[in-house]
C-alpha cells in the first residue's frame, strides 16, 4: 500500500467514523431529547387501556403479536418517527384502527421511544406527521 493510498484509507475511515456517529445520533434525531417524560407518562395511560391487552403489560408481545422493545428497534429505528406515528395512527389498535386522537398517538410514540432507551427532553413530540418527518428515530445503542 503506498503512502498516498494509506492516507486515502485513513481519510475514508474518518468519514466512516463520522457517518457512524451521525447514524447513532442524527442531527434531527430523537437522541437529542424530542419528547417529554410527561408525554411518555400520558402514553402509558393510553397504552394500558388500548394496547396492553395484545402487546402485554411489559410490551413483551406474545407469539404472533410483536413485542414493542428489542427487535422493535430493528424494525423502526434509523427512519423518520413519522413512519411509526403514521402506522400507529392508521393501523392501531388493531381491533379499532385509527380510533385514537393524534395527541394520544404522539403520547404512545413517546412511550415507545422511552421504552426503547431514547432519552426524554424538554421539547414536546409533535402530533403531526409532517413535523415528525424531520425527526429520525435514533437507535439507542446497545443496552448495557
Amino acid at each position: 500500500m503506498s503512502a498516498r493510498t494509506g492516507q486515502l484509507v485513513a481519510a475514508l475511515a474518518l468519514v466512516a467514523l463520522g457517518t457512524g456517529a451521525a447514524l447513532a445520533q442524527s442531527r434531527g434525531g430523537t437522541g437529542t431529547g424530542r419528547y417529554t417524560a410527561e408525554q411518555a407518562a400520558a402514553g402509558a395511560q393510553v397504552y394500558a387501556i388500548n394496547c396492553a391487552m395484545c402487546h402485554g403489560a411489559r410490551m413483551e408481545g406474545r407469539g404472533e403479536i410483536p413485542p414493542l422493545t428489542g427487535r422493535f428497534v430493528a424494525n423502526w429505528a434509523g427512519r423518520p418517527v413519522a413512519d411509526l406515528f403514521a402506522y400507529v395512527s392508521r393501523a392501531m389498535p388493531q381491533h379499532a384502527p385509527g380510533s385514537l386522537a393524534p395527541e394520544q398517538n404522539a403520547h404512545l410514540v413517546a412511550l415507545l421511544l422511552q421504552a426503547n432507551g431514547v432519552p426524554a427532553g424538554a421539547r414536546e413530540l409533535p402530533a403531526d406527521e409532517a413535523a415528525l418527518q424531520r425527526i429520525t428515530f435514533d437507535p439507542p445503542g446497545p443496552a448495557l
Binding site: M53, C54, G63, E64, I65, P66, R71, A74, N75, W76, R79, D83, Y87, R90, A91, Q94, H95, A96, P97
Partner: protein, 411 residues
C-alpha cells in the same frame, strides 16, 4: 368428566372385542364405537375435558372483496406480483395461487425473485419459484409459525370467504377452480409423508333433525351491500364455489342407523382433508432452505421501499397486512378463533353438531364454535385478534355431552 372416562373404557373394550371377534364372524355390539366386521370403523371417543385445552388462537381471514389479488404493478422499477387476500382459503388454495403468481413473475424472465411475506402463501410461492429454477429470498417480519397462517384451523376449505360475487366478477369462479384443482393435486403429493403434513380423516356431522344443506337466499329487507357499505351485509353476497369441485372432493353421505356410531338420530360422514401445521411448515422450510433460499428479517413500512431490494421481481404475499401495507381497503377482516386440545393420536375423525365442531389433527384437536345462523357473516369486519375462552369451553361441553349421550345409547 367421569362419564367421559367411562366412554373411553367402554370404547377400548369394544374395540378390542371387535378386533378379537373379527376373525370369528359377525358381531353386533349396539351403540357407540362398535367394531363391526364390515361398516363403521372403531371410534375412540375424544377427551374433551377442560384440562386438555392447551392453546387458543384467533386470526383474521383476509377476505378481499374481488377475491385474491393476483395482479401486477410496477413500483420503483420493480415488477410486483401480488398474491394476497385469500379469505379463509389460504392454505387450501396455496399451490394453485402460487402457480399463478410465479407464472406471472416468470414471464418477465428473472433469475431471482423476492417474496415479501412468509405465511403459507409467501412460503409456497417461494418454493414454487425455486422449483422453476429461480433464486429466492423471502423478506418478512416472521417465519410461518408466527404468522396468521398458523392461526387457521387447518381444514381444507378452498371456498371459505374467498370473494364476494359482485366485486369478483364473472371470471373469478374459473380462476378459483383452476387454483383449487391444482392445489388439490399438489396436496395429494404430500399424503403419507413423514409427519403427515396432509391427511384425510372421517368427518361426522350429527343432528337431532334430518341434515340438509343450508342455503342463503338474498334477503330483500337488507338493502345495504358491499357496494354501499364497504362490507358485505348478508351471506348471499359471498361467492359459494365448492360445488364446482364436488367431483374430486368427498361429499357427506348420510349414515343409516346401523352405521351411525353416535347416539344421535341423524349423522353424515365425509372424508375431510386437513393440514398438520408443524409437519407441513417443516417440509416447506426444509425444501426452501435446501434449495438455497435465503430469509431476511425485514419489515416494510410503505410499498416504495421495495425499490431498495436487489431483486427485480417481487411477489407480494402479506395477507391481511396488505390492508395497511398496500392500503388495500377492500381487504376485510373476518375474525375466527380456535381452541386446541392435546393431540390424541388414536382419534382420527372430526365431529360437528349444530354450531360446534372438533377436528382431530396431528397437532391437536381443534375446537370451533361458529354460530350457524350467521354463516359467512360471522366475524366480518371484526379485527379483534384476542381469543375469547368462553365459546370454546361451551363447544367442548356441548360435544362432551354428545359423547356422553352416545355412551348412554351404547350401554
Amino acid at each position: 368428566m367421569q362419564q367421559t372416562a367411562f366412554i373411553g373404557q367402554a370404547a377400548t373394550r369394544r374395540r378390542l372385542l371387535g378386533g378379537a371377534l373379527m376373525a370369528g364372524g359377525a358381531l353386533a355390539v349396539p351403540g357407540l364405537v362398535r367394531g363391526q366386521v364390515l361398516g363403521t370403523p372403531s371410534l375412540v371417543p375424544m377427551r374433551l375435558s377442560p384440562d386438555q385445552l392447551v392453546d387458543m388462537k384467533c386470526c383474521l381471514r383476509p377476505l378481499r372483496a374481488a377475491g385474491p389479488n393476483l395482479g401486477t404493478e410496477s413500483v420503483g422499477g420493480k415488477l410486483v406480483v401480488h398474491n394476497y387476500g385469500h379469505g379463509g382459503s389460504g392454505w387450501s388454495l396455496s399451490w394453485g395461487s402460487a402457480e399463478v403468481a410465479v407464472g406471472k413473475a416468470l414471464a418477465s424472465l428473472p433469475r431471482s425473485v423476492a417474496v415479501v411475506g412468509c405465511g403459507i402463501i409467501g412460503l409456497t410461492s417461494a418454493v414454487v419459484a425455486q422449483r422453476y429454477g429461480l433464486d429466492v429470498t423471502i423478506y418478512a417480519r416472521d417465519q410461518i409459525a408466527r404468522t396468521r397462517s398458523f392461526r387457521a384451523s387447518g381444514s381444507y376449505t378452498p371456498g371459505s370467504r374467498i370473494a364476494l360475487v359482485e366485486p369478483a366478477g364473472p371470471q373469478f369462479p374459473d380462476l378459483w377452480e383452476q387454483m383449487a384443482r391444482h392445489s388439490w393435486r399438489m396436496f395429494r403429493t404430500m399424503l403419507g409423508l413423514p409427519g403427515e403434513p396432509v391427511r384425510f380423516g372421517d368427518s361426522y356431522a350429527v343432528s337431532d333433525a334430518p341434515i340438509e344443506r343450508r342455503t342463503w337466499p338474498a334477503d330483500p329487507a337488507i338493502t345495504e351491500s358491499f357496494a354501499t357499505a364497504g362490507l358485505p351485509r348478508q351471506n348471499s353476497e359471498f361467492a359459494h364455489l365448492d360445488s364446482r369441485i364436488a367431483d374430486i372432493v368427498p361429499q357427506a353421505v348420510p349414515l343409516p342407523p346401523g352405521e351411525n356410531p353416535f347416539g344421535m338420530p341423524y349423522a353424515t360422514r365425509s372424508s375431510q382433508m386437513h393440514f398438520n401445521f408443524p409437519a407441513y411448515a417443516a417440509i416447506l422450510l426444509d425444501e426452501f432452505f435446501g434449495r438455497g433460499g435465503k430469509f431476511v428479517n425485514r419489515v416494510f413500512h410503505r410499498p416504495g421501499e421495495l425499490a431498495d431490494l436487489p431483486e427485480d421481481v417481487v411477489i407480494h404475499a402479506t395477507g391481511y397486512a396488505a390492508r395497511d401495507f398496500w392500503g388495500d381497503r377492500t381487504v376485510i377482516p373476518v375474525r375466527g378463533q380456535t381452541g386446541w386440545l392435546v393431540p390424541q393420536p388414536g382419534v382420527n375423525y372430526s365431529l360437528r353438531y349444530r354450531n360446534v365442531s372438533a377436528l382431530s389433527k396431528g397437532d391437536g384437536i381443534v375446537i370451533m364454535n361458529n354460530n350457524p345462523d350467521l354463516g359467512d357473516m360471522l366475524g366480518v369486519g371484526d379485527s379483534m385478534e384476542l381469543p375469547n375462552r368462553a365459546p370454546i369451553e361451551e363447544a367442548m361441553a356441548t360435544l362432551a355431552a354428545i359423547f356422553a349421550r352416545s355412551a348412554g345409547a351404547a350401554a
